[in-house]
């Protein structure tokens, strides 16, 4: 743009007109690298620095027998944020998700080194109560898995096994959870019906309601929409954005647009390693790592 002042009236200006600069040879190309190196951790994001950390993974290594499935993972998830794990099949993202509430305990031959902190709780400390831990970090799976019970009993299940017997308390908790999962209006008149009669999308939201009923702090979702049609997927995604006001959410997804739509932060894994994590917008417009760029633009492998 023309600067102010360029047209100032000074018609007697005796200065000679400067020699054109452009007709000389161009200077050497800028030697600076086109893409500056980016830190591996999302520490550049001020919201991560200011928000309290809900989940923290420190130097986590995981072995299935002799095979190492996770290599030295360091990661933080801020409270009331959504973090997506993306990466090709077998990259370790679901394995890491299951480490966060010790679902891997159920698999034989698993050995874990390093530390996972849920709030101030050391997840793998010997004194940690695993049942209490999973109450704080609920899980929603790829395939909806309602129990062969009524809709009401599915949602009330977690409270019942905690010993809750009071009918009013259970009814309130069921309504609150179904509303939280955006399912109440669709099922309020048939709470006694079998959960198996719901559509796939409704079943998945029922599983989310079941996870909400015990008032967790963290919700872990392992490809929650991969079996749903686009309309049901959109409902679950809207729900995730609602839920992050109250909960912290970690979601594993193969759908990169989904990661882009719902998450504040995204972490990209490859071969059991965390390649890059950071603000979702940043990772999808200007990733710091070549492998991330190749993966999200579909040029991987």
């Amino acid at each position: 743009m023309l600067r102010t002042g360029a047209l100032d009236m000074d018609i007697d200006d005796p200065r000679p007109i400067p020699e054109p600069t452009l007709l000389q040879a161009p200077p050497e190309p800028d030697p600076r690298p086109a893409m500056p190196p980016q830190p591996d951790l999302p520490l550049t994001d001020p919201s991560v620095l200011s928000a309290p950390t809900m989940l923290r993974v420190d130097r986590l290594n995981l072995f299935y027998g002799d095979k190492q499935a996770l290599h030295d993972i360091n990661l933080q998830v801020a409270r009331h944020s959504v973090m997506s794990f993306i990466g090709p099949s077998g990259c370790g993202k679901s394995t890491l998700l299951r480490c966060l509430n010790r679902m891997n305990d159920l698999i034989d031959n698993v050995r874990i080194q390093g530390r996972v902190l849920l709030g101030d709780t050391d997840v793998y400390a010997p004194e940690t109560d695993v049942i209490a831990l999973r109450k704080r970090a609920g899980m929603v799976f790829q395939k909806s898995n309602p129990f062969p019970k009524s809709i009401f009993e599915n949602v009330a299940y977690g409270l019942r096994i905690q010993g809750q017997r009071d009918k009013t308390t259970l009814e309130e908790a069921v309504e609150r959870s179904l509303r939280g999962a955006g399912l109440w209006e669709e099922v309020k008149d048939r709470l006694k019906d079998s959960a198996q009669g719901l559509s796939g999308g409704q079943q998945q939201r029922l599983c989310i309601a079941r996870a909400l009923a015990v008032r967790p702090e963290v919700i872990l979702m392992d490809e929650p929409c991969s079996a749903l049609d686009p309309i049901a997927t959109a409902k679950v995604e809207e729900l995730i954005l609602e839920l992050k006001r109250e909960f912290t959410i970690v979601i594993v997804t193969h759908n990169m647009q989904q990661a882009a739509r719902v998450s504040d932060h995204t972490a990209f894994f490859w071969m059991g390693k965390l390649i890059e994590s950071g603000l979702t917008e940043q990772l999808f417009t200007n990733p710091g790592h070549r492998m991330t760029e190749d993966y999200i633009t579909g040029r991987f492998g």
């Binding site: 009236m9 000074d10 452009l22 086109a34 893409m35 647009q257 999808f284 417009t285 633009t297 579909g298």
Partner: protein, 227 residues
């Protein structure tokens, strides 16, 4: 080559084709001015139609790519910036037409020292380098273009003052000088267009906006409430 990569290549090739037309129009405009050639000026106008056709075609291609491919990272930056580069190139064509239309009204020459030719050539150099920085993914060259804009602005100011002086001295040259003021204004705009293209090239290459550097590290405006 994957279909998507082919489509991205089509987009790049299209922008190069448009830029080629722009450079041809600038050359013809310069010649029309110097040679007082109506034929050359007519050629400029004729090329503008091809420019407009390319703009429509590339606009559609960009929107299709966004809709169908959900591009990310470098692909996304290329497409988003192309949506801005294409109209910049098209505007260069429009400015050339504005200049060429006046080619026969600015004679006999009133400016000495080849000033007018120099303005055209400096501007032409900026456009050429902006295009080269896009082709060669050359961030250093793009920065050179942005820095060169000041030189064209300076030249514009000098010629403008000279024209005012001439008009005050000799009322017979007022008509030609008035046309010349519009001619140099259009050259100056073309140099801005080249600068804008170079800024988009930097965004494609580095992922950060190169625009308005004074805002990049500025404290927030106290009059605008923060979120």
């Amino acid at each position: 080559m994957r279909q998507f990569d082919q489509e991205l290549k089509d987009l790049r090739d299209g922008i190069l084709a448009m830029a080629g037309i722009a450079e041809e129009m600038i050359d013809l405009t310069n010649q029309a001015l110097v040679e007082r050639s109506k034929a050359k000026a007519d050629q400029v106008m004729a090329l503008d139609r091809r420019m407009d056709e390319w703009e429509l075609k590339l606009d559609r291609l960009c929107v299709d790519l966004l809709a169908l491919r959900s591009p990310a990272a470098g692909d996304l930056r290329l497409i988003a910036s192309s949506l801005k580069i294409v109209p910049e190139i098209e505007r260069i064509g429009d400015h050339c037409c504005n200049i060429a239309r006046r080619a026969t009204y600015v004679h006999p020459p009133i400016l000495s020292g080849g000033l007018l030719e120099r303005m055209g050539q400096e501007t032409r150099g900026m456009v050429r380098w902006a295009v080269d920085s896009f082709i060669g993914s050359d961030a250093g060259l793009a920065r050179t273009v942005i820095a060169a804009d000041d030189s064209v602005d300076e030249l514009y100011g000098r010629i403008y003052r000279e024209l005012l002086r001439l008009m005050m001295t000799d009322p017979l040259c007022i008509e030609r000088a008035s046309h010349l003021i519009l001619v140099i204004k259009n050259w100056e705009r073309i140099a801005d267009q080249a600068t804008n293209i170079a800024e988009e090239v930097l965004f494609i290459l580095e992922g950060r906006s190169a625009k308005h550097p004074y805002l990049q590290n500025a404290p927030p405006d106290p009059n605008i409430p923060s979120e």
